[in-house]
């Protein structure tokens, strides 16, 4: 396939994935998908290798292909069928992320492509609203489904498991609508272009592989190691070291996580899929933006993990927040290793946590009173680099979700935001200062259950080249005019009149100030 046909097909596949994303976003029900856009859509070839991806968030990069592989291995799909899954140990990441995989057949009834989308559902059961609990095993985290054929009964099963069944049904239907649109478009092109269309998908993957090899060939050769820690697992175990060694050679990159802590009791473990995503994210950032997002470039990057460790957890490990927190620390250690190889390109650590806040309870304003579950993440400071200071109050690395507007949130839920500001001075000092974190305060009009799943409350984001670390974050409860500090990971019952104040970490500084 020549250079021209490659580019034309790249547009074609990318536009199909993007159209799926538009359908999902516009027709979904939960703010999490519509406002925060916590989802991704992708196309795969018949072998399950990614052809194009859109509306993606980085943590889905390497993990969605594993979902498709799991679906293909478990079920022989027929026309009209769709496979749903969220089991972290069978192709998923954590339970709220539900993936739907659908096959695309040619006129002879042979599967030629798959389409998949993954969306974060606000509640899939488990011991606390929002399904990001301080759990000790997967069994406490909600409904867990290995690859399962989609049916109305399955929709009922998921809805029944959730505190917000109507929203689940709405979001699931949106996921179905998105895949159907993708199937329809791929079928149209398949009918029109036949085998050439299938070959184009392969050629695009090969193109992306060549592209990444060219990027890697410009990097220094060598091996570099780095270690950083998670504060704790929420059950008193910590600090938990994550260690990696990055080796760049002529054949590609090997990232080895030997030396990382064993899987732990609390929910900070991750399945290998998440580790893979974090590594891929870092190398994508080092490539020019034109690098097409497909399975080709992933072939150049090998990731070694030891089953049973924090970064390759096995059943029945608790994984609820590993996806959002541990993924950030994995990114930090890979960057820390690469900073030794390419000090001019790699920034100091960013805030290193998504500052997950989940609020659930009964909304007494509705008649009859109705259950609600709300989830949001809060940005922090980004790390400074050799060329620029960090940025204030922003989502970094493995997430890029939008915040929910305060005016939308107060309309939908029985609590109010009473402060939302940049946390001045929280960025690490240096020649270039790290970005500042965020302050966000919630005032509760009625009792609710609040889960805080946050990191970098004990160990701040590292600085580089003599720059200071960013300030650690703080979680505070103000009750009856008394302020008390809350642990980094906790679930508490708040009362009417309480205020919870979250102060997120700043980014690390760069260079001596």
């Amino acid at each position: 396939m020549n250079a021209i046909e490659l580019e034309i097909h790249r547009h074609l596949f990318a536009s199909i994935a993007e159209e799926m994303g538009v359908v999902l976003m516009r027709s979904a029900f939960s703010p999490n998908i519509k406002e925060r856009r916590d989802f991704s859509c992708a196309l795969f070839d018949a072998d399950g290798e990614m052809v194009a991806q859109a509306a993606h968030i980085p943590v889905h990069l390497g993990s969605t292909p594993l979902s498709v592989a799991a679906a293909m291995a478990a079920i022989k799909m027929e026309p009209g069928t769709h496979v749903l899954l969220n089991d972290p140990f069978a192709g998923g990441t954590h339970l709220p992320d539900i993936t739907l995989v659908s096959p695309v057949f040619d006129a002879c009834g042979v599967v030629r492509f798959y389409v998949a989308n993954r969306a974060h559902h606000a509640d899939v059961g488990g011991i606390t609203p929002g399904s990001l609990p301080l759990s000790q095993s997967i069994d406490e985290e909600g409904i867990c489904l290995g690859p399962t054929l989609w049916s109305e009964a399955l929709e009922d099963q998921i809805a029944d498991a959730s505190r917000t069944p109507d929203e689940r049904r709405g979001d699931l239907r949106a996921q179905l609508a998105a895949n159907r649109r993708g199937q329809q478009r791929l079928s149209e092109h398949l009918a029109l272009r036949g085998e050439a269309f299938v070959r184009a998908a392969r050629a695009l993957q090969e193109h992306s592989e060549r592209f990444m090899r060219a990027v890697l060939s410009a990097m220094p050769r060598g091996r570099w190691s780095f270690e950083d820690v998670l504060d704790d697992d929420g059950f008193g175990h910590g600090p938990l070291p994550i260690r990696c060694t990055v080796a760049i050679g002529d054949e590609g990159v090997v990232v080895d996580f030997a030396g990382t802590a064993l899987q732990t009791r609390g929910p900070v473990n991750v399945p290998r899929a998440v580790t893979l995503s974090a590594v891929l994210y870092v190398f994508r950032c080092l490539a020019p933006r034109e690098l097409p997002s497909n399975g080709g470039y992933m072939r150049c990057i090998e990731v070694h993990t030891v089953p049973g460790t924090l970064v390759d957890a096995q059943h029945p490990a608790a994984v609820a927040i590993g996806n959002v927190e541990t993924s950030q620390r994995i990114t930090d250690v890979v960057l820390g290793a690469l900073a030794q190889a390419m000090p001019e390109r790699i920034p100091a650590a960013s805030c290193g946590t998504m500052n997950n806040v989940t609020i659930g309870g009964i909304d007494q304003r509705q008649s009859p009173p109705a259950a609600f579950a709300y989830y949001e993440t809060i940005g922090g400071g980004s790390g400074a680099s050799a060329s620029a200071p960090g940025f204030d109050g922003v989502q970094t690395h493995m997430t890029n979700t939008l915040n929910t507007p305060i005016e939308a949130l107060e309309h939908a839920y029985p609590f109010r935001i009473v402060a939302y500001a940049i946390r001045k001075g929280s960025g690490g000092a240096g020649k270039h200062a790290g970005g500042d974190g965020v302050v966000r305060s919630y005032f509760f009009e009625s009792a609710a259950t609040v889960s805080l799943m946050t990191e970098r409350r004990l160990h701040g984001p590292y600085g580089l080249n003599g720059g200071e670390p960013g300030a650690v974050g703080r979680n505070l409860l103000v009750r009856n005019a008394v302020t008390q500090r809350l642990p980094g990971k906790c679930t508490i019952e708040v009362e009417a009149g309480d205020v919870i104040r979250i102060e997120t970490p700043g980014g690390g500084g760069h260079g001596l100030g």
Partner: protein, 677 residues
């Protein structure tokens, strides 16, 4: 009262290089171009008006499209602005929505804010989502704010309080107190600009208005003085026009008006020929704008300029970074990319012979013969065919392709990104591009129109007359128009089913209607009012706009649920009958339709067959053909001929592949694909 714009009128489009003017007097058109005067655009306007107006015959009304506010914004040359909000939220403009513009980049780059961190002020007050007053605004707070504003030396203030769309009382108190105490201050108040929820977007819109307000006011004062005999109206980003006072007060409505004139002009040309469903395709040097019109332009409520959200209605235009100057290059993996890098105007494409050496889309056309080297800009500029060919050489060798194959490939790749843009505005919104006529303009529109039409199975292309003046011409057909909206955020059942709900909705609609009547200063009978509702299922956060019947007389509002369900099903493949529907926003459009009839009489005097025809070998998508080279000025009314042909004129070139038939009607070229060829 008759609309003064029904008589002789002038459309003026200020561009970067030229200021275009079109005078319409009955069926006659007079057109003129003068060099722009960027330091004070009103100078060039005065010159242009003097050139077309016979001073003894009165002073025609002027409709003016201006980029003064846009440029002030893009170049950050606006006023010193203070931002005032609810205490605790002073950093709202800096926190944005917390996302970073580019996902896979370590360095986060966001265009500079309009307001300094030291220019943000929090006022103690709080309104709830239900319009309740949680904390009242005290007089002492107002006094302290005024003292701070005075001491800070601000020219302009943007006020955006939380939930002001639901209850504007505190914003009103602040606005009127500041106006009274500091009469020189330009005051922008969020609920008057965008009365809708989403605090960051509303605050951003308000701050943009505050930033460009004083600049625009000074410009419009200068302009009025220069052409003081003329009534002036200003083109808005939604394609309507407003009086000059409105434009000075709410200039945020003009910051995206640049492409609006072209879309209105394209739509008018289509209407003259009896077409109403069009896709506009405006391909320039660095980018291409596409938009879809179903009888009228599609509007969007939320758009962005230079990274700043704008929440006022704007013609929904999708832009891709592919234009005549887009540079072709091979990426690290060996695929051919066209754009987003552009040779721009300087050095320009290689064939401009101004120092450009990299191959561009324009150079590909020169190599293939679809751009005629000797007829560019009516022959005023000679293109360098040798330089175009030379620019292809290195890239062609790298790819193992001869020049013509590469040139074809460059055009194919450019087409792929433009096809994708058209799919975004049609297929992704549940509309089939095959039902539309493609209206091509801009310097390179005609070069690619039939190619795109074929790729999208569009059967008809329209190239309007005077495509280079389409924008100025379009302004003459802009309606006097105001758009109003208000967030309601209530269940539809409650609004329609209970007396208090009904009264609340009627109250809001009647209020908006009264505001329209007052602001537009015309009799009720002349005003066309249409109402739409933005609806969603409870829990969704994306709304679908549905027209609703609203009879001002008996204040009745018809249930839009059925229309909503049907539209939802069309767009997303399902409807959720069991789910309650929420009315998020109501919108009122008030317009005085321009009653100008088609001016078909203005035609070329050439006879239908006097083409002065030449022939040349030209490369098309399907291969090389012997094509007719035709001067557009020579194509008379009623002429009809078949491709392959290349039609040249001053402001552009139209390529007609084999299988396409050209007809000239009303001065416009209609290109249709003939079945079976």
């Amino acid at each position: 009262m008759a609309d003064p714009f029904d008589g002789p009128a002038i459309g003026i489009d200020t561009g970067g290089t030229f200021t275009d003017v079109v005078l319409r007097d009955g069926a006659k058109l007079k057109i003129h171009k003068v060099l722009s005067s960027p330091a004070d655009p009103s100078l060039a306007i005065a010159r242009a008006v003097a050139a077309v107006v016979d001073a003894t015959a009165g002073a025609p009304a002027i409709i003016h499209g201006t980029t003064v506010a846009t440029n002030a914004l893009l170049e950050r040359r606006g006023a010193r602005v203070a931002f005032v909000t609810t205490a605790g939220f002073e950093d709202l403009l800096f926190l944005r929505r917390q996302h970073r513009p580019e996902l896979y980049a370590f360095e986060i780059v966001v265009p500079a804010a309009l307001v300094g961190p030291d220019a943000c002020y929090g006022v103690r007050e709080r309104i709830g989502h239900d319009a309740s007053i949680i904390e009242a605004l005290e007089q002492s707070s107002i006094g302290a704010l005024i003292g701070w504003l005075e001491a800070g030396g601000f020219e302009s203030v943007a006020i955006c309080l939380l939930h002001a769309y639901a209850n504007p009382i505190h914003e009103q108190m602040l606005g009127s107190a500041i106006a009274a105490a500091l009469p020189a201050m330009h005051v922008s108040v969020s609920h008057q600009i965008v009365r809708e929820f989403r605090e960051y977007e509303r605050a951003s819109t308000t701050s943009v208005n505050a930033f460009v307000g004083p600049v625009m006011a000074r410009y419009l004062t200068a302009l009025s003085a220069r052409v003081d005999a003329h009534r002036i109206e200003i083109l808005q980003s939604h394609g309507g026009r407003s009086d000059i006072d409105f434009a000075a007060r709410l200039p945020v409505h003009t910051v995206l008006s640049g492409p609006a004139g072209g879309v209105i002009g394209a739509l008018h040309a289509a209407h003259e020929l009896g077409f109403s469903k069009i896709i506009t395709f405006d391909m320039g040097g660095t980018s291409t704008d596409v938009s879809l019109c179903d009888g009228e332009p599609s509007l969007t409520r939320w758009s962005e300029i230079d990274g700043l959200p704008i929440g006022v209605p704007v013609i929904d235009i999708f832009t891709v970074g592919a234009g005549g100057g887009s540079i072709a290059a091979v990426d690290a993996g060996g695929a051919l990319r066209v754009g987003p890098r552009s040779a721009g105007a300087s050095p320009g494409p290689a064939s401009y012979a101004q120092g450009g050496v990299e191959p561009t889309v324009t150079d590909a056309h020169v190599v293939l013969g679809s751009l005629r080297a000797d007829r560019f800009l009516g022959g005023e500029m000679q293109l360098d065919g040798g330089a175009a060919a030379q620019s292809m050489r290195a890239l062609g060798e790298a790819l193992g392709m001869d020049q013509r194959t590469l040139a074809r490939g460059i055009l194919d790749v450019a087409d792929a990104s433009m096809v994708r843009a058209i799919k975004v505005i049609s297929l992704e919104r549940g509309l089939d591009p095959r039902d539309y006529t493609l209206v091509a303009f801009g310097g390179a529109g005609g070069l690619h129109a039939c190619r795109l039409a074929q790729a999208l199975e569009i059967k008809r292309v329209l190239v309007p007359r005077h495509p280079g003046l389409l924008s100025a011409h379009g302004m003459l057909h802009a309606d006097a128009q105001r758009l109003y909206g208000a967030s309601i955020l209530r269940a539809l059942d409650w609004l329609l089913g209970t007396t208090p709900g009904h009264d609340a909705l009627r109250g809001v609609l009647a209020e908006l209607e009264a505001q329209a009547l007052e602001e537009m200063g015309v009799a009720t009978a002349l005003l066309e009012i249409s109402v739409s509702a933005e609806l969603r299922y409870v829990g969704q956060s994306f709304e679908i706009s549905v027209p609703v019947t609203w009879r001002s007389g008996d204040k009745a509002f018809e249930d839009p649920a059925e229309g909503f369900g049907a539209r939802h099903e069309l767009l997303y493949g399902y409807r959720a009958k069991e789910r309650a529907i929420e009315l998020v926003t109501v919108r009122v459009k008030a317009s005085v339709a321009s009653r100008i009839v088609a001016n078909f009489e203005e035609q070329s005097s050439a006879s239908a067959f006097d083409f002065g025809e030449q022939h040349a070998q030209v490369g098309f998508g399907g291969g090389d053909f012997e094509a007719s080279i035709i001067e557009r000025d020579g194509i008379g009314e009623g002429a009809c001929f078949l491709g392959p042909a290349v039609i040249t004129e001053y402001s552009g070139t139209t390529v007609v592949p084999a299988g396409w038939r050209v007809q000239c009607r009303g001065g416009h070229l209609i290109l249709s694909f003939e079945e079976g060829q």
